[in-house]
């Protein structure tokens, strides 16, 4: 395998890993899925602050 090919593979692997970690750790999937529901079926977003 040429050096160029190896470099491309490493870059691809690294980018895939970072993307997968980002999607898993930073994306709130409940929000993404909820926003794609029809309006009358969506769960309501309810705001609160950490006070009684």
């Amino acid at each position: 395998m040429s050096d160029i090919k190896r470099l491309v593979l490493i870059l691809f692997g690294w980018t895939s890993l970072v993307t997968a970690l980002h999607l898993g750790l930073n994306v709130d999937w409940s929000v993404v899925l909820n926003d794609r529901m029809p309006e009358d079926k969506r769960k309501l977003y309810v705001a609160y602050i950490p006070v009684t």
Partner: protein
């Protein structure tokens, strides 16, 4: 609370709780329809409605649970001794500010003798410990945080000067009330049942402190245990229906303190239809287990 327990009900959870660090951000999110409902301090809700924001108050979040706290090592034992001192409040539009105005009036003092500064609630205990402020008027668990940390002392609880005191209320956008009344009713019913469950005794409160601290507030559960049990009526969760005399009092204080420039009637900013249907509800049938909830 309601979210956690309703996960264990056949209907499942019907809403997504979103934590914010301050009321101004909640206001902006409501206006831009990023959120459809939220808990804010009552005067802010009234002010929003009077400014034309399409929201209504449908229920309360709790009663009591606010206190004025001074540094433990200060010589202050009487409210009048706070003259000339810096007191942190969560917002100009808060009951925590109005309770100060009420006490200032009660003791025939001048409001201009007190320097009130707005501060995000999570910052006040640290500011008191660092001597950046002399006192704060805030909702739980921040008075408890100052007490537990050993650097703060409660000068007075809101209940001592304001019977039936309320702070956070549940507001809902008008379009949701109109289009999805069943969802709003489910939310209000859930809060009502959570309130009854919380007021059902110490084990429920200890269990709630555990899962709310770990899963919702990102706070040490011991802090919430202190706030919810020391004593048990430090914060109460019944009755949570919005009553006209309570809101008339808040509105009048707002006009008196120039937070409102004209009067607004109860029915213009409160929708009681959901609270009226909570009569006869029973507490959640959720048995507190070990001290750590899963």
């Amino acid at each position: 609370m309601t979210d956690y327990i309703s996960r264990f009900t056949p209907a499942g959870n019907l809403f997504i709780p979103r934590m914010f660090q301050g009321f101004p951000e909640i206001k902006e999110a409501l206006i831009s329809d990023k959120i459809q409902a939220g808990f804010v301090v009552a005067p802010l809700a009234i002010a929003l409605r009077s400014q034309g924001v399409p929201i209504r108050i449908v229920y309360l979040g709790h009663r009591y649970g606010s206190a004025v706290v001074v540094r433990n090592d200060s010589a202050i034992t009487d409210f009048a001794q706070l003259k000339g001192k810096i007191i942190a409040i969560p917002s100009r539009f808060s009951d925590e500010r109005l309770i100060l105005n009420r006490v200032i009036k009660k003791f025939k003092l001048d409001v201009n003798d007190f320097k009130m500064v707005e501060m995000a609630p999570p910052d006040v205990a640290g500011a008191l410990a660092a001597r950046a402020i002399d006192a704060f008027s805030m909702g739980e668990p921040f008075p408890s945080q100052a007490e537990m940390g050993g650097f703060g002392r409660v000068l007075f609880h809101a209940r001592e000067h304001w019977p039936d005191y309320m702070s956070c209320v549940l507001i809902v956008r008008d379009d949701i009330i109109e289009k999805r009344p069943d969802a709003v009713q489910a939310l209000v019913d859930g809060i009502a049942r959570s309130g009854l469950w919380l007021d059902d005794g110490r084990p429920n409160r200890e269990h709630a402190a555990d899962f709310v601290g770990r899963f919702y507030y990102n706070q040490d559960p011991r802090l919430l245990t202190w706030a919810l049990t020391n004593p048990l009526n430090r914060v109460t969760y019944t009755p949570l229906s919005p009553y006209k005399p309570d809101f008339d009092l808040v509105r009048d204080l707002m006009i008196e303190t120039k937070l409102l420039d004209s009067t607004i009637e109860f029915h213009e900013y409160v929708d009681t239809q959901f609270a009226e249907k909570t009569d006869g509800l029973s507490p959640w049938r959720y048995v507190p287990g070990s001290s750590r909830a899963e």
